[in-house]
Symmetry: C2
Subunit: 236 residues, 2 copies
Amino acid sequence: MKVSLLESPRWQTCSDCAVRGFAVCSALDKAELRELVTLSRHIHCDPGATVFAQATMATSFFSVLEGVLRLYKLLPDGRRQIIGFALPGDFVGLAGSPQYEFSADAIGAVVFCQFSRASFARFAENRPRFLRRINELAGRELTRAQEHMVLLGRRSAEEKVASFLVGWRDRLAEIGHVGEVLPLPMGRLDIADYLGLTIETVSRTFTKLERDGIIRILTGGISLLDAARAEALSAA
Amino acid sequence: MKVSLLESPRWQTCSDCAVRGFAVCSALDKAELRELVTLSRHIHCDPGATVFAQATMATSFFSVLEGVLRLYKLLPDGRRQIIGFALPGDFVGLAGSPQYEFSADAIGAVVFCQFSRASFARFAENRPRFLRRINELAGRELTRAQEHMVLLGRRSAEEKVASFLVGWRDRLAEIGHVGEVLPLPMGRLDIADYLGLTIETVSRTFTKLERDGIIRILTGGISLLDAARAEALSAA
DNA sequence: CGTCAGGTTGACGCGTCTCAAAGTGGGTGG
DNA sequence: CCACCCACTTTGAGACGCGTCAACCTGACG
C-alpha cells in the first residue's frame, strides 16, 4: 500500500492556500497578504532536490506548502544529524545568521513559497502582529528542539523510535492528517540520523516493535496498533 | 585556585547595568527603558535555588544579570537532560506556552531581572524594534539548540567534552571574560547531563584530556593548554 | 582531625555500532 | 508481461564504547 502526503487539493491563490490557516501568513489581513504575495515565488521541487545548503549565503526564507523537507547538519567527516522535518505550514530559515546553519532537501516532491530575505524583512519590519507570529513559530521550534535534545541525550533506541512515531503521528494530526495508517515518507536512514542511531538499529527496533504487537510495518509507513504502549515507551 | 563569575561590578540602575549592551533591553531607548524598569523586579538567589519548574504556570520572563542558571528537562523516571546554561545577558522563557517547558535553577549565586509575562507582552506588543530584538535572541537560541543536537546525536564522549569546553570558552568570551583559566561553575554531573553522558565518563574524559596535554584540571575550572587540539576534537 | 559532598578510578556487562550478507519491492527495458 | 536491476531494508555475528556498580580519593568546612 502506497501512502501519500500529497493528497490535498492544490492552491490557486494565497487566500485559499492549503496551509493558509497555520503558516506564517495566518497573521495577515487581505491587503497585507496581497502585498506579501508580490514578494513570494512558488517553487516545485523533485524528490531528493536540495533546497539550500549549510554555510551558503542565506538569501531566502521558505514556507512549506506540500511535502516534507529534511533539515540536517553535517560534520566534516560526513556524520549527519537530522535536526527536524519541515511539514506543510512550517516556516524555514528563522535563525537569522547571514549563512544557513543547516541544509534542507526534499523528501518526495515538495512545493514551497520562497521569499527573499531582504524584502521579507522589510515587509515584517513594522508589522508587530506579523513579528509576534514569527516569534510564536520560533518558540514552537525551540520547544521541539528541546524535546529532541532529551530524546537524543537520554533515551534508549526503543524509546527513541517510539517517541519518533508518536511525535510524527501528532504532527501529522496537527495539519489535518487522519486515518489508520501513519505514512513515513522518509527512509530508515533518515530516521536513524534523526534519532542519533544507525540504520541497522532502527530497522531492528522497528522489527521488535512489530513482534511486540505495537506497530505493523507497511511499505511507506506503519500502523500504530497499540498507541498506548507506544506512548508509554516514549515516556512523556 | 577558586574561580568566580561574579567579579563584575554590580549595577545601580538599568542604564549602567552590566549586561546593558547585550540583553533584551539593548533595543530600547531611554524612555522605553524607564517604562520597562517599572515592570521588572531584581531578584537575588542562592546556590541551588529553583527559579521555576517544568510544567508549572509560566508567569514570568527572566533576564540573567549575574551568575549561571542550568536549564533542564526531566523524564518521569528521573533521567535529566540539561538543555543549556543561561549566562548574564541571556533571556529565559521565550517558548511562549502557558506552562514552562523546562526547569531552571541557580548554579552558584544568581541575580536576574524578572518580568511578569502579561505586562512584558503588553509592553512588547507594539514595539517592532523590541520584537525584532526578541526574534534575534530566539534565533540565536535555536541555532545553539541545533548545534547541541548534533553534539548529542553524533559525537563521541571525547568530542562532546572538547566541544563543551570550547563552546563554554567562547560563550564566556562573548560576555567579556578574559584570562588563562576557564571557570566551570557547574559540577561534573551537570556537564554529564548536558552532554548526554554519565558522570564517570565525563570524569574519565577530563582525565584523558589532561593526560594528553590538552587541558589542565583545576578546582572550579580548567586551563585550555592546547586550544587547537581541543577545537580539532570538537570537529567544527 | 573527622565528616561529607563531589570527583576519580577500576572491573565488568550491556546496548548499540560495525561489518557482512541476504532479502524485498518498485521501476525499467526487453 | 516478465526478468532484471538497484536502492533500500532486514538479519546476523562479533567488537567496542559507554554505562553500571563499587571502592577510593580529595578538598572544603566545622
